[in-house]
Structure formats: C-alpha cells, structure tokens
Amino acid sequence: MRKLPRSLRFYVAASTLYAAVVFFAVQFIYTFQLTQSGLLVAQRDSGDVLSSIQTVSFIVWLGISLIAAAVMHRLATALAGARSAEGEARIAEEQKEQELGSIFGLSAAIAGPLDLDQIGAYFVAAIRGALPADTSLALIVYDDVLEAFRTVAADGPRTAALREKNYSAADLPAVVRTRVIDHRQSLLLADDDAHADMWKKVVAELPALATAKSFAALPLVSRERLVGALLLIGEGSGDLIADKVQLPMIMGQYVAGSIHSALSVKEAEARAEREALVNRIAQRARASLDPEEILRGTVEELAKVLDVSRALVCTGATEDDLSVTYEWDSTGVAPVGLGAKHVPIARLAARLGRTVVVTDVRKDRRFTDPRAPQDLIEEDLIAAAATPIRVGGQLAGALSFSQVDRSREWTADDVRLIEAVAQELRVAITGAEAFGRQRAAVVELERLNRAKSDFVSIVSHEFRTPLTGIQGFSEMMASEDLTPDEMREYAGDINKDAHRLNRMITEMLDLDKMESGRMQLNRERLDLNAIVSDAVDRVRPNAPHHPVALRLDPLVGEMNGDRDKLTQVMANLLSNAVKYSPNGGEIVVSTRAEGGAAHVAVRDHGMGIPEAALETIFERYGRVESHATRHIQGTGLGLPIVRQIVHLHGGTVWAESNVGKGSVFHVTLPRAAAGTAVAEAAS
C-alpha cells in the first residue's frame, strides 16, 4: 500500500468501504425477507448455500470496486497532467506577454514623458532583460552645443564608472568616434584573439572597460540626427554578439525618436526661458544710454544667473587687441583689472569665431599643452566660457565668464544664454563707441572752452598792459605841464604801445586765417641760412644774458618759401628760447641739409617742457601754465603760428625736451619740392 499513489489508496479504501456497505445491506435485506416469508425454517440446510452466495457476491463487489478505483486513479492522474501542461503554456505566454509588454510598456512610457532621464530609465529597464545579467549599459545623449555626450542612464555592475559622465568627442575611443559617431554604424568588439590589439586600444581610451570582455556601441539615430548612443559592456567575450544585441538595437531605434523629441522640447523650453531672460536683460539694457550701465545691467545679471565667479567684457578689433573694458567679480574674487590683455579664453573664442567652453583648464589639452601660450591672465581660472561679439561681421570684442572655485560642465543652456547676451552687447558696444566719441567730443569742447577763456584772460592781460601805457601817457599829456621833449617822448611811448597792440591783433588774425586755410604764401627763392642768421641778429640785443651760437650748413642753399613767414617762425622760436630760459644759458641755432629737406634746430638751456605738453604746446592757447611760466608774457599763439607756417610750407615741426635742462625745437622744410608741397598745403 505504501508504494501506491495517494489517490489510488483513496480509491481503494473508498471502493472497499462501498463494497462492504453494499454487501451488508444486501445480506440484511435478504435475511430479513427470507425470515418473513418463512423460508428460513430449515436454517441448517440452506445456511451453507446462502453463505457461499454471500461470499461470492462480496468478492465480486470488491473486484468491481478495485477496478473502479484504478480507473478513477488513472482518470485523476490524466486530469492532473492535463492541468499542469496548461500551466506551463500559460507561463511561457506570460513571459512573451512580458516582453511584448516591455516593448509596449516602453513605447507607452516613452510616449508620455519628455524627460531624458525618465526615457533613459525606461529604456535601460526594457532592454535589461534581453541581456546577460552582468552586462553594464549606459545611454549617452549627444548635446550638439556642448559638443559632448551626456550619460542619461546607466545600469549593471559598472554603473558607478558610467553614471553622470560626459564624453567630449575627444574622450571617446577613436574607433567609436569614426564608426559610431561619424558613420553611425554599430560597433561590436570582444576581447578575443582576432581583436586583441584593437581591444587593448579601446580599453586604454575608455577606462570604464577595464577587465571587461566585450563592448558594444550602438548609434541612436532619429530623423538623420545622431541623438546618442547605447554603450554595452559585457563580462564574457560572447555576451555581446550580433544576436544578443538585436533587441537593444531595435528598441534603441525606437527610443531614438523619443530622445529626439525630448531634446527638441527641451531645446524649445530652454529657448523660451532663455528668451524671457534675454528679453528682461534687453529691456534693462535699452532703458539706459550709458554703456557702463548697460554692461552692468546685462553682464552682471547674467553672471549672477549663471553663478560664475567673474565676468569680463573685452573689446578690440583683433584677438591680440582684446582688452578688458568691463569687469564684474563676485565677492571675494580678485579682479583682473581693466585694460588687461591676453584673456586666454576670450582670445580663443575670438580666433575661432565661436563660443568656447572649458570645463577644467588644468585638464584641457588646449591649455595644458606646454606649447600653449602661458600668459594666462586669470591665474586662478578653472572653468571658463567665452563667446566673440561681432558687429557687422567684424570682431568687436568678446564676452567671457569664468569659474575660479570649481570645474564646471557648461550646459547647452548656459552657452545659448551667453551667446544671446553677447548679441545684446553689440548694441551696448556700438553705443559705447558712439557714446565714447560723444564724450570725447564734449571733453574736447570743454577743453577748448577752457582754453578760450584762458586765452581771453591772457589776451586781456596782454592788451591791458599796452592800453595802460597809452591811457596813462595820453592822460598826462593832456593834464600836465610838460616840456616839448617830454611830450615827444610820451608820444613815442604811446606809439610803441599802439604798435604792440597792433602786432598782437595781427598775430591772432593770422592764426585764424592760417587755421581756416585762407592764408596765402608769397613764395620766392630764398636763402634759409640768411633768414636764420638775420633772425638771430635781431634777437641778440634783446637777450643780453643769452649767448646765441649759430651753426649754419652751407649745403642748405636756396629754397622756395615765404620770407616774412619763415622769419616769423625763427623770431617766435628764438623769442621762446629766450623767454623760457629766464636764467640765461646758451642758445644754439643750427641748420643742416638732410636729403631733400632743410633741418633747423633751436636749442635752449631753459626750464624745459613736460613730456605730456610736447604736443599740446603747438595747439592754440596750449601754452604750459605753471607757477614757473606764469610771469612769462605771451599770447600762447607763437608756436601754433610756427606750426601753421611750417605746415603750409610742407614741413614738420616738433619739440624735444628735458625738464630743467632745456628744449630743442626742430623744423624741417622741403628744399626742392617746396613749390608743390606749398601748393598742396595751401589748397
């Protein structure tokens, strides 16, 4: 019995019980009815027959019951077997359903959300089951502004090495670059004998592959655009053969469309957000005319939004000219300083004509290369982004942001924002130029105005002194008893003062005429040496304390010029030499023939001229005003007249000086070509 199946035991027991019950029931009915009918008289005779009948029927019943039990058992077993086969079929179906479900689920899942991370998570979960359990996988999405792949999702034993990693094109193995990125083909690679060399190379370029046995990189392409790639890393060399990556490949193409949409939506959203910010910045920028204020309003705002350490606006027409014209630093960041040149990232952006981002300057080959320029102005720089600013197709400057406290992965949004604000800055920079010109014009006007009022006071002083003489002497002649000799003397004094006044007025008018181009030269052949020596002869009696040495070069010879005007030039230079060396000292006048030009130099040993004034002294009213020159009388017109006359002759005039030691005034006049030069200058 022990070996019998449990169900058979049950049927045997049941049928035996059934047989026994039926037997006793029949026995009872049989016995009772015989007794009733009185047939049971001769009990002894009929007893044997009856009991044998009873025994036989019992055995028959028992046999029937056993057969029934066996049949029942067979039936039950068959039924149970049928039931279990059905279960197995259902399990297989369920699995298929699950796979289908994962595809449908994936499609449903990725149809809904447009968040890349979510899409990545669904995708990884969906293909997970189709790959060996120890396979690591990473979904990387291409960001065309960053020019880098960003890891969106990762799974498997190597997750830690894959997650949150960005791959610039340079970071990926060369074979991935050419095969997957450029040609958009799948790459399947295993560490087997046939590919040992290539495997070694790839592992060297992609450290996450260390100790792995196979690798696959599948491009994700949607509508002609490479949106990303799926990286698979297998621990067995046969883990990633073509058959096994088929499902991931199919699903990958499926997901590519979603990634594309997600990227598009993200781009659109970011664009809208950016536009809002740019609009806000632009509004602020246009609310002001002051470029300084515009830069403050835009660059500073953007710097704060980007959370950078420093923002620089450089201006310049070439990459070498770029110099810092506006700087914003967050608190605690040392400024670079206005006017600083060679801001490296800005230079690179200007040279390439596009935005340049640097995640970590210490690890960037463009800056760590020993051949790269080492003059990094921002020594504390770690990460930076810069974009060129172009006005009318010409480089006008660059906008640069830097991070000194940490390395930074610049996002596509950061870059687009920087570019958008750079666009806005064009307005500010062009405005700044116009504003600068205007400001310079105002400063110049103010300077002229001041010079004019200075001139009025100088002239009034100069005029009043001879007027005092004229007024005083004439008053005395009118009111006092004077001898005829005294009368004559005073009349002579009055005459001298009147002449002086006249000379001053003539000088002013002459200069006006020359400056407005209305002065005509009376050209004739003349001997420059003779004019110089005449002028020296005339100054000598008025300068008893100044020995005047004359060194004439006979080769200077004749030239074409205006005798009176050149005499005036010499007289003015000589009288200045005397006036501005109040303590005496030798004055040396020399002439020299230099090619086609005659060079006249007047050297004194006077107080000298500060370097800053060497140019301005030739400007109208540009006299150096100081305590030392206060007492020196002059209209401030002598040197401007000299310059005008020399220019009319086609020559040049300049001064050299050593403060406290003396000055040299140089005049060059063309000798042969004087005629044409004069004609040009006069026209």
């Binding site: 001879p466 007027l467 005092t468 005083g472 004094d493 007492h631 009388q633």
Partner: protein, 110 residues
C-alpha cells in the same frame, strides 16, 4: 613802460619814488630804502609779485610794509589770490593817473 608811467605820474607829488625791474631787485631795494608802500606787477621775470609779497612778509623788518598789486586781470580768482598773498590793495590795468595818485595818497592819510 608801466614803471616809467608810474614814476612820471608820481613825479608831481611830494613822494620819493624808487624803481626796480624785477622781484629780486625790488626786494633788495625795499630792504635798502624801507618804503612806505610798494606797488608791484604780478607778472615779472624771476621772482613774481606773489613771491615778492611772500618774501616781504617772511622778512622781519619788511612785513609791515603794504603792497599793492597792479594786475591786468579782472578775474575774481586772481584778485582773490592777490589778497591771499597779503596785498593791501589792488589796482586794475588800465588805471588812470588820478586813480594811482589817490591810491598812493590813501597810505599817507594820517
């Protein structure tokens, strides 16, 4: 010219007039003759009028001598500068002879 004019204008008065051609010589002359009043131009070669005034005020026996500046400027700043340098008065060019005489007489009232 102004020197000659002043000398001539004051000739008819009873005052003794001494003339110096620049600040340095004037200072020497002042030390020598101890005048009652000094009339000086501001603009002079070498030591100018303001330097002269400062030098006089720094010299013990000369500090009390009043100095009047003759200036061609009517600009307020320069007139103010005259007084900053301790001027006792200011005479603007062109001035009349009677104005000059009246200004001189002012220092001899008592």
């Amino acid at each position: 010219m102004i020197r000659k004019l002043v000398q001539t204008a004051l000739r008819s008065t009873s005052h003794e007039v001494h003339i110096a051609e620049d600040g340095r010589r004037c200072l020497a002359l002042i030390g020598e003759v101890r005048p009652d009043v000094v009339f000086s131009d501001v603009m002079m070669p070498g030591m100018d009028g303001f330097d002269l005034a400062d030098a006089m005020h720094a010299t013990p026996g000369l500090a009390h001598i009043p100095i009047v500046f003759m200036t061609a400027s009517v600009q307020r700043e320069q007139i103010e500068e005259c007084f900053r340098h301790g001027a006792a008065g200011h005479l603007a060019k062109p001035f009349t002879m009677s104005e000059l005489r009246a200004r001189v007489a002012q220092f001899f009232k008592s």
